[in-house]
């Protein structure tokens, strides 16, 4: 089943600036763990952030779970967003809060304003958070402040927070680029495992082609706002890579 349909997506950040995405179209199936590769500046982050409307596309269409994303406003947009978990390159944790509170914050979309003001989450959320922290291997760090953790541990908090949303799609923006190679593979492996356990499709920006080939079943290649490749991982040839990375001095 197709969960995400993107058609002719275009965006410019300001009227007098060049187009960053120049007509991107693709589909994501519910079984996909899809990589978006491309040199830096190609528009990978911009593309992924259009999908939950952290940035506003200029034109085109996005259909997610059968809903027209670009038509949503206010509460409807927030309800859509809580179905989409996002994991960031720089983790984006709240440094001065505990690991537990960071994970619980993934639940804000389901929590009323008043409850969240007093951090009074229902028991079911608390047990879910503890279970997820256990799953990502952080049971011993529940009450630590987020900024006391190592990079790999922080990204595990980020993963748990995204999963708190009970997402139906994961958006990953270079989730391992801030980590060193060994930790990077561990974290990617964990995300991969959990996504298949929970049967959540994922769309993942990766700069590292090798890592993309190892972890993803489909790959989209972006270059300078154009889609240059779209296919099963096995069908990616060196010639395609040369084209995608043509602008980058290797």
């Amino acid at each position: 089943m197709t969960v995400l349909k993107v058609r002719d997506l275009r965006i410019r950040y300001a009227d007098n600036q060049p187009e960053i995405l120049k007509g991107i179209s693709f589909d994501v199936e519910d079984s996909d763990f899809m990589a978006i590769i491309g040199p830096s500046g190609a528009g990978k982050s911009t593309l992924i952030r259009c999908i939950n409307r952290l940035v506003e596309p200029t034109s085109g269409s996005i259909e997610l779970f059968g809903q027209d994303v670009l038509a949503l406003k206010g509460t409807a947009l927030r309800q859509l967003r809580r179905n989409v978990g996002m994991i960031f390159q720089e983790f984006n944790l709240i440094n001065r809060m505990s690991v537990m509170d960071n994970v619980l914050s993934g639940r804000l979309g389901y929590t009323g304003n008043l409850r969240s003001l007093f951090r009074a989450f229902p028991q079911s959320d608390i047990s879910r958070a503890l279970a997820l922290l256990d799953r990502v291997g952080l049971s011993d760090h529940v009450n630590k402040r987020a900024d006391e953790l190592s990079g790999g541990q922080r990204q595990r908090v980020g993963i748990a927070r995204a999963l708190m949303q009970q997402p139906k799609l994961l958006l990953l923006d270079e989730p391992t680029s801030a980590l060193d190679p060994k930790i990077s593979r561990e974290v990617m492996g964990l995300i991969r495992e959990i996504a298949s356990e929970l049967r959540v499709p994922a769309l993942c920006n990766i700069h590292d082609v090798q890592l993309a080939k190892e972890s993803c079943n489909r790959i989209i290649g972006l270059q300078d706002g154009y889609k240059k490749f779209d296919g099963e991982t096995g069908t990616l040839r060196d010639r395609d890579l040369e084209e995608i990375y043509a602008m980058e001095v290797l």
Binding site: N52, R82, N83, I94, N113, S116
Partner: protein
């Protein structure tokens, strides 16, 4: 083997030139500087400052102070009535500072472009609120409130509240606009409401800075409270005004000394607390 043989780099003098500002940029800068200097000279000329008279006033001031204002009547500022006025001034600055800071927080939230709940409506309203509180000087606020509410502490507290809204609101908003947007985006992408984004992603980042600003606001409000009193708000300033009108010069000098002492104490205290708060970061 020498460098000159192997290095085909550019010659030391490549004949290229470079300037930090373009030709028009340089012209504008020089013209602006010239205009400022000309206006300064014109203003001095217009004031018709006579240097010898200016120096003469210093000795004049000294004579007046030593003849009429010395010795300050310290006993006057040590009596119960005046000590009560000091307490009034303190209370006024606390109340005004507290209410002002509490009102300034939502206004700052509205008027911070990055996280405002509505860029079209609340942002301009928030900005307008902060700017208009600042645009009107605390003495004018006092005069306004005295004419509405009559003389006394209520007018004084109201004036100080307006002053603190403007003062703290601007500093708070600047602080909010400088937060790391990463956590903000994380909360937005989890479906959090604007209020939740503010409480969860912004407040933890600005809490320490806000505490420092709130204390600083009280300290500045205390200083302003003496002026506010002078114009009818009650407290030390009110005593000052009465004694000036009655030409009780030695009492006036005692009051001025007491104000200087209190402001110094407030400033030292606020500096000390702020240093401690900052260390708690």
């Amino acid at each position: 083997m020498t460098m000159t043989e192997t290095n085909p780099g550019p010659a030391p003098d490549s004949g290229q030139t470079w300037s930090r500002y373009g030709a028009t940029g340089a012209a504008t800068r020089h013209a602006t500087l010239l205009a400022v200097l000309v206006f300064l000279g014109y203003s001095l000329h217009f004031l018709n400052v006579d240097l010898s008279r200016l120096l003469g006033t210093f000795s004049g001031v000294w004579r007046v102070v030593s003849d009429r204002y010395y010795p300050p009547e310290i006993a006057y500022v040590a009596n119960a009535g005046y000590l009560g006025a000091i307490l009034d001034t303190l209370q006024m600055s606390f109340l005004g500072g507290f209410i002002g800071v509490v009102c300034a927080i939502p206004l700052a939230w509205f008027s911070a472009w990055n996280v405002t709940p509505s860029r079209r409506i609340l942002f301009p309203l928030g900005r307008l609120g902060v700017i208009s509180s600042r645009a009107i000087h605390e003495t004018i606020w006092t005069i306004l409130f005295v004419s509405i509410l009559g003389f006394g502490m209520l007018a004084g507290v109201s004036a100080l509240t307006m002053f603190c809204i403007g003062f703290a609101g601007k500093l708070f908003a600047d602080e909010i606009e400088a937060v790391d947007m990463g956590p903000v985006e994380a909360m937005r992408s989890a479906g959090a409401s604007d209020l939740q984004v503010f409480v969860w992603a912004v407040v933890p980042q600005v809490r320490v800075a806000f505490t420092g600003i709130a204390i600083y606001t009280w300290d500045v409000a205390f200083r302003a409270a003496t002026v506010v009193g002078f114009f009818g708000g009650g407290g030390m300033g009110w005593y000052l005004k009465r004694n000036i009108q009655q030409l009780e010069n030695t009492k006036v000098s005692a009051i001025i000394l007491s104000i200087i002492a209190m402001v110094l104490i407030a400033e030292v205290f606020s500096g000390w607390v702020r240093a401690r708060v900052n260390r708690a970061k």
